[in-house]
Amino acid sequence: MYKILEKEVFSPIIKQFVIEAPKVAKSCKAGQFIILRINEEGERIPLTIADYDREKGTITIVFQEVGKSTTQLGQMEAGDTIKDFVGPLGEPSHIEKFDGPVVVVGGGVGVAPVHPIARSLKEAGNHVIGIIGARNGDLLFWEGKMREACSELLVTTDDGSYVRKGFVTDVLKEVIEKHGKENIPLVLAIGPQPMMRAVSNLTKEYDLKTIVSLNALMVDGTGMCGCCRVSVGGTTKFVCVDGPEFDAHAVDWLELGRRGGIFRQEEQQAMEHHQCKCGSGCGGAK
């Protein structure tokens, strides 16, 4: 059993937990993820390690409620326990001292997973330009944490309700134009698939090396089931063990998107089943 030590609510659908998991905290690195299972009936859901404290033995996760399991997770409170929590999984981000400014882009809930990578890159001596964005100001979180993790931080909202109006790709384009594409050794982007794809399309025009963290469907997360497979550069990779980070320009985005939607009908059914379980409007908390 893994205890939720702290809960923070960033918006009605974005929440943060600090969870007691000393074994994971001891060895995890930026870019890795965990898989958790809420209870005995639960499915295994992957979430990126957004922060960790080796001394306290804790892992921070930030998640967006998109369906049954994440909604149920969001209904849990500090003091509650999660049945299973396994990690660190996946390969860590490749961290080195690059020649020139590195651009790190976080969109929506993707700000959380991008955070430890930005921090590690900066600790390795890089000049890290952070770009974070959300649909609106209310959905934006961790601006302060990101400001600390990056050398400079640029913030944008789709609707202009906070700082400025524009997509992260608009800001990225300005950064590339300002610094010159030949001076930027790496762009790293994490967020919803359409956002990562848009970043990928943009940087491809500039021929700028870009890494993305893929969120394929997963079951075990150890390379045993092959559910998470995706074509990268024409060969099949398992996102859970070969990734989750890949060269954005080599990813078969169409295939990834299609495979991510395999269970859409069932996911809807699960959500409906969850909400109406007791009929009291408890939202499925029982």
């Binding site: 390379g223 045993m224 092959g226 559910c227 495979r259 996911e267 059914q269």
Partner: protein, 471 residues
Amino acid sequence: MTDEKKPKKEIKPTKNPMPAQDPMERARNFNEVALGYSEATVIDEAKRCLQCKKEPCRQGCPVEVEIPSFIKLVAEGDFAGAIARIKNKNALPAVCGRVCPQEAQCEKYCTLGKKYEPVGIGRIERFCADWELAHGVKTPEVAPATGKKVAIVGSGPAGLTCAADLAKKGHKVTVFEALHVAGGVLMYGIPEFRLPKAVVQAEVQNLRNLGVEIDVNSVVGKFTTVDELMEDGGFDAVFIGTGAGLPYFMNIPGENSCGVYSANEFLTRTNLMKAYKFPDCDTPIKLGRKVAVLGGGNVAMDAARTALRLGAEESWIVYRRSHEELPARKEEAEHAEEEGVKFALLTSPVEIISNEDGWVTGMKCIKYELGEPDASGRRRPVAIEGSEYLMEVDTVVVAIGQGPNPLVPRTTKGLELTKKGNIVADPETGATSKPGVFAGGDVVTGAATVILAMGAGRTAANSIHEYLSNK
């Protein structure tokens, strides 16, 4: 006294049949197919045994279960005595009695089998194990603590057996398991209808009663490495029993289409994650009307039978060779056929076709004929030119085999591997190229059987005990 001089005993030529669920009914539920003998039937079956002095049956059992003597006790109605006798050699009798390929092992060598049907050794073994589970399992004696610590990586039959034996010898044993439950393939692969998960968990509980600590949610190679376990973790020896869990694909076009599963994913969703109880359990599984399972082994049979239970209208085995060469156990193929699984033999897909949304709509297949025997002695399938045709299916399950998962081998210094990535271990001792590190089961042999994995776990336990005693 020779057998001839015995008062002539009337021998029943056939095994007592195994009571089973009706095929048409069971093909739609996940309850166990074989229901097990009653007390009267098991005694009757035990009385068929001739008590041969040379014990040929024993030589067919990879762990040499004391077959004639446990059967004698059963015939006398002493089930407690019988199970104790079985457990001298076999740590997981409830499992082996159900899933051992007996026709190729103990029962193959049974004297009765020369003229009649062999004694139903597996069925009798299963009865004894179930009888014990129902009457409360006695925890065996544990030797005084030796102060030595052993880490077991993987909780399949190899790891569980190794752990049990070492714990009995007084060593402190910790099992690290990547998944959220212990049992390996017994939990995630072999379906509930062949091996109820409660039976496996009862065996796992016995292990806990011996004082073995089982750390689930622990992926070695990730949260720690084998080297770290020995250097910082204080473990004096390590046993690697991580199995053969890496699914192979055909590498044909269209294999990443929506609706194509590996057998591991298909069975894991169903067994481990209980997708057959969706939406009461959260993990979904999606099936079309017509399912094609590629491959002809036990795993393929399990997948094809599972597909029917999940509601497929048609479930097909698509296999390159003929019926005779099916690598699956005869009984499993028969069960599949009885339940309505269909066979497309001498057939293999060359491409998986999908619609504009990426969903499988069919397979381009090619027909084969049997040519000259190959190195394995089986006649080699040869593609018939121009025989391509379209097989309409909407779900494909790839069950063509598994290799060893590279997580542990890749992160362990100085571990000798084969070309296929299996760990090299001495079959006599389980010792690897790395001092203090032992290995056994599917990770060494490639995909094999439960009883062989157990045997390897036991062999390694003996060597580890010796290694620790001399250390």
